[in-house]
């Protein structure tokens, strides 16, 4: 396996080695160029040879298997791989910018910034999980940001792909990962739970917002295993002004039982971007760890851990969707809104982990200065709408935490709904159909645009009419999402 050391100027499969950028224990990173390829590129070459950790080889095999199968903005673009038997390497897009690692000197960070970083990472994790991959080594040095803002996850050497053989699974006795960030179930050898990534992100958020690592830095297995029974100090005991919502999110990510964390990274991302509406539990107010006796009991009388059957990410996502319902409060008929509510109720009835986001678009005129936040009677329009939305949803009797309310201000209701769905990884949009009307023919249909352009399922709810076919325009009632304000 010993190979001559690579040098600047060497050529591998047409890639010219330029600079050695990073010399790690497991791999080296070179900047490379190739005639005909314009993007900046990195070549990752594993350190192989006598006396090397066999993990270096296996994790490189995993990465070579997984990377070509990933796509999208949250991973570096895969460009080429070398034949393992001849000269193993991976060439990928080289991203400008630095990882989160240098930010460690800025800790603790402002809470809103932590939430924003967390939202970006959770969004990237959701994308990765939807591609059947669990990262299993989320930490600051493995996260970069594109200039456009998206988080990019690096290093899939410890990852698990749900549709490919897991070469790491039976290879090593010791669980591999990064000690401070590793989820409790990973310490027990479980590599198939996407929620392990949520735990690591929870550690990162805790660290970034308090400046302290929740479980220390020890790499001794016995010390690491403490996290199975010893809960971390609540952030509020470290920083007096620590927001309740952030503690709620962080401690939920750090739950020992994966089932007590968020069902999906998408739902975590949702809470991080809508933290003003988080349902706070006892977690949020905790200021001390559990009592000595509680911890001792957990340690010596641990809950029975059934080896959970690996569950496909898709099944979990399917069981915990984010459903957005767009309610038109100004024009839609009562019947349409009632039908919409029934449809929302049906969508959520079977799925206790689902979340409902109620949207209303407050339509703004094209010239911003003409808008006022107050209505004719001096009431705040935005607040009015929120109250009306809550009133609409009240018969659903959903638990707090299962439902949120959002008034979007926009000139174009369809675009506002589409943007919201994209930003929040919505799985299904429900909206009411506008009956045939003159307005629709003049303004175009919001539901048609949303149905045509959304990246998720769209259900257009229409009140059943007994007298179909369609009535003539002028007798039609019903409405559409968003208030219609004639454009000036």
């Amino acid at each position: 396996m010993a190979k001559p050391t690579l040098q600047r100027g060497d050529v591998l499969d047409g890639f010219v080695l330029e600079d050695l950028i990073h010399k790690g224990g497991m791999a080296r990173l070179w900047s490379v160029t190739k005639p005909g390829i314009d993007v900046p590129m990195l070549m990752k070459v594993p350190v192989l040879g006598e006396g090397q950790d066999p993990a270096a080889i296996v994790s490189f095999e995993m990465e070579q298997m997984i990377m070509p199968r990933l796509s999208g903005p949250h991973v570096p673009r895969f460009i080429a791989a070398g034949d393992f038997a001849l000269h193993p390497f991976i060439v990928m897009e080289r991203l400008p910018g630095r990882s989160l690692l240098p930010r460690l000197s800025d800790l603790p960070m402002p809470y809103e910034e932590v939430a924003d970083i967390g939202w970006k990472i959770a969004t990237a994790l959701d994308d990765l999980h939807r591609q059947h991959v669990i990262h299993l080594d989320i930490k600051p040095s493995n996260i970069l940001f594109r200039e456009s803002g998206e988080a990019v996850l690096l290093d899939f050497g410890l990852s698990h792909h749900q549709q490919l053989p897991d070469l790491m699974q039976e290879e090593f006795r010791l669980p591999y990962g990064t000690a401070p960030y590793m989820a409790p179930e990973q310490l027990l050898g479980v590599r198939t739970d996407p929620r392990s990534d949520q735990f690591a992100l929870g550690v990162l958020l805790y660290f970034f917002s308090t400046g302290e690592r929740p479980f220390g830095e020890s790499e001794r297995l016995n010390t690491m295993k403490k996290r199975l029974w010893q809960d971390p100090k609540p952030p509020r005991s470290l920083r007096k002004d620590y927001p309740l919502w952030l503690q709620e999110i962080v401690l939920r990510c750090l739950e020992v039982e994966p089932a007590w964390r968020y069902p999906t990274a998408a739902q975590l991302a949702f809470d991080l971007s809508n933290y003003d509406q988080i349902r706070l539990t006892a977690r949020s107010e905790r200021t001390s760890t559990d009592s000595f006796w509680t911890r001792v009991k957990r340690r010596f009388n641990p809950p029975e851990r059934k080896a959970a059957a690996p569950q496909s990410v898709y099944r979990r996502l399917a069981a915990a969707p984010i459903v957005a319902v767009a309610v038109d409060l100004s024009e839609a008929s009562k019947e349409t809104n009632d039908s919409l509510r029934e449809a929302a109720g049906r969508a959520l009835a079977q799925l206790p982990s689902a979340r409902l986001a109620c949207l209303n678009v407050l339509k703004m005129s094209y010239i911003a200065t003409r808008d006022t936040t107050l209505d004719d009677e001096g009431h705040n329009k935005h607040v009015n709408r929120l109250v009306q939305l809550q009133d609409w949803a009240q018969p659903l009797k959903l638990k707090e935490g299962q439902i949120t309310f959002h008034v979007l201000e926009a000139t174009d209701p369809a675009s506002a709904i589409l943007d919201y769905a994209e930003q929040n990884k919505v799985d299904q949009i429900l909206l009411g159909a506008r009956a045939n009307s003159l307005r629709r023919s003049l303004l175009g249909s919001v539901s048609a645009k949303v149905a045509g352009e959304a990246g998720c399922t769209v259900t257009v709810v229409r009140v059943r009419r007994e007298d179909a076919p369609a009535k003539p325009e002028h007798t039609a009632s019903g409405g559409e999402v968003g208030e219609s304000v004639a454009a000036p």
């Binding site: 080889i57 038997a85 490919l164 039976e170």
Partner: protein
Amino acid sequence: MLIALLADIHANRQAFTACLDDAKARGAERHVLLGDFVGYGADPVWCIDKATELVAGGAIAVMGNHDAAVSDPAIRMNEEAQEAIEWTRGKLGQAERRWLAELPMEHSDEGRLYVHADASQPDNWIYVLTVEEAARSLRATQAPVTFCGHTHKPAIFSTTAAAKMTAFSPVTEIAVPLHGLRRWLCVLGSVGQPRDGNPRACYGLFDTEKKEIIYIRVLYDIEAAAAAIRAARLPDFFAERLFIGR
């Protein structure tokens, strides 16, 4: 080159035809038939004739335990399988019987080993179901990749130089790269009598360039295959199980 791997055809003409058609549509250039051409199903002659034709065109075929049992009464099977073999004997002509009897136990080709069951004792017909059984088979060969059948349950095992094993259930239509740093054992599912709970016929496609294997499931006319079994007065159970893939 794309190689179609077909195991445990078991005289199921409809399933065999459907897999061959599917492989052709996907551009398969070569066929490897991993044994058990007969037994259970009602069309042994047709299946052997088709296999003979494929072999004449360059296909590779190896012997399965049901094929061996046709000419070797010493090979005993469970009662129903035995009944099927005796029925099959009565249907086959001299030429078909000779073709079965002359099949090789294994075949090696450019680092690929083809065998019906475990490779350590091919004529003992040991099932490869567990990691331990896979390790025994892999120890018996230097071939980078072994392809076998016999269990009717798709699986992929790998081993490293340090003899560490991995086991995996392949996902239909998802290509699995068989990297050169480790050695692989691919257990194909059954064409003619799937038993992994999925009644669709199973076969594999191996891409020699990309070194990737893909497991494919094909819908076929189960009604017709079952009707033929019933018409031949073979045990009804052989027909029933086709519908549930057990």
